[in-house]
């Protein structure tokens, strides 16, 4: 249905335009570094299709050690409006996720785009810096 009151999630602030309530969200800048980029390759292991933004997990083999990256993105309302559905992120798929790293240095990022092994890409976040990655 409509998106009048749906969360837009991380990376999109329309507060100057909105008079309607949305799921509140912490500031992007309090969590992510929009001036740096990060990319990880691994297997999708979990998808939380939740407000105020979705989050998915990718198991990454780093230097022989398995680590889990958590990837925050836009909200479910804006993603569905844009044509991205939960089924587009299938558990078990091998993906490369590109985005902006967490400022705390942890295995956490703002996921801008998910690249699949057949070459297709799904954007899950917006371009924060204005520069293409």
């Amino acid at each position: 249905m409509k998106g009048h009151f749906k969360s837009l999630g991380f990376g999109l602030c329309l507060s100057l335009l909105l008079s309607a309530p949305l799921w509140a969200h912490h500031s992007f800048a309090a969590e992510f570094d929009g001036s740096r980029s990060v990319a990880v390759t691994g297997v999708l292991t979990k998808v939380d299709w939740t407000n105020p933004h979705i989050e998915f997990s990718v198991d990454v083999n780093q230097d022989g050690n398995a680590t889990t990256w958590t990837c925050a993105a836009l909200g479910p309302g804006v993603l569905r409006h844009a044509g991205v559905n939960r089924d587009d992120l299938k558990i078990g798929e091998k993906v490369t996720v590109r985005g902006y790293p967490a400022k705390n240095g942890g295995n956490h990022m703002y996921a801008r785009v998910v690249e699949f092994s057949d070459g297709h890409k799904i954007m899950t976040g917006l371009n924060v810096t204005g520069a293409d990655q």
């Binding site: 009048h4 749906k6 990376g11 799921w23 500031s27």
Partner: protein, 308 residues
Amino acid sequence: MIRRCCELLLCGVVLLSPVSLGAQQAPAQDTSKPTPRTADGKPDLNGVWVAGPDLLKAVIESEKGANGSLLISINPQKLDALAGGRAAPALPKPGDPNYDADAVRVAQLKPGDPGYDRDKVAIARRKLAPNQPPYKPELQAKVKDLAEHQTRDDPAFYCKPAGVPRIGPPSQIIQTPTAVVFLYDSENVFRYIPTDGRPHRADADDTYMGDSIGSWDGDTLVVDVTRLTDDTWFNQDGAFHSTKTHVVERLHREGDVLSYQATVDDPEVFTRPWVMNPRRLKPSSDLLEEASPCRELDESNLVNFDRH
């Protein structure tokens, strides 16, 4: 105001701006239509009501690429059109009660200016906006402190309901001769509001949506709300309150325009009742839908108090 899509992208989503927007107001001519009435002669408030254009449809665009790729972007022209429909409020001048030299300086920064930060500009503009909640002087420092720590302290950041009055007007109204029901698609909450003359419940607990009773003042539905929990803010800028909060909402339909106004009093924190900025809504044929579940996943990753 906002000129480029990339200027939008550094902050997450906030709760409502208390400012009513020209671009989102229902057209004035919609008030000239006859006001539909129910069988008992009251204005018919039934239906889904929206504040204005669907922002997602208005500014978010997606483009299918090779191999089924999907690219999402913001259309800056449409965004500019929306922003341009809003008259920028005048900034206070020296001597005005809410004048703050530093905030005025920041509020006037434009993209490209030294020190420009879109989030800080937005915060400064909200600070300087007219019609601030009238806090007692001894509590203003607390409001300021809460605002500065909003990214960690705002209850709404933890998937708690915004509550009355922050949640704003209902998304859908169901009206009967003896009660109205307010539904909200943002948070899967509802309010059952008797209009049969009964008083407030004596045994009501404090809740996010409070205990409401309704009555008709001529053609205006008046909803009186008490027993609100203090686990909410009135806005994103630290507007805390007590459980003594008392809200009176007035809903008036004229043609296809529903006007909504909330007056908030809290003798524990305010010096006088606060009449919030009115909202104008228009009917929608959309169906209400349950929102996706909400989960707070970010607090452990916050490294500073940046806010938007």
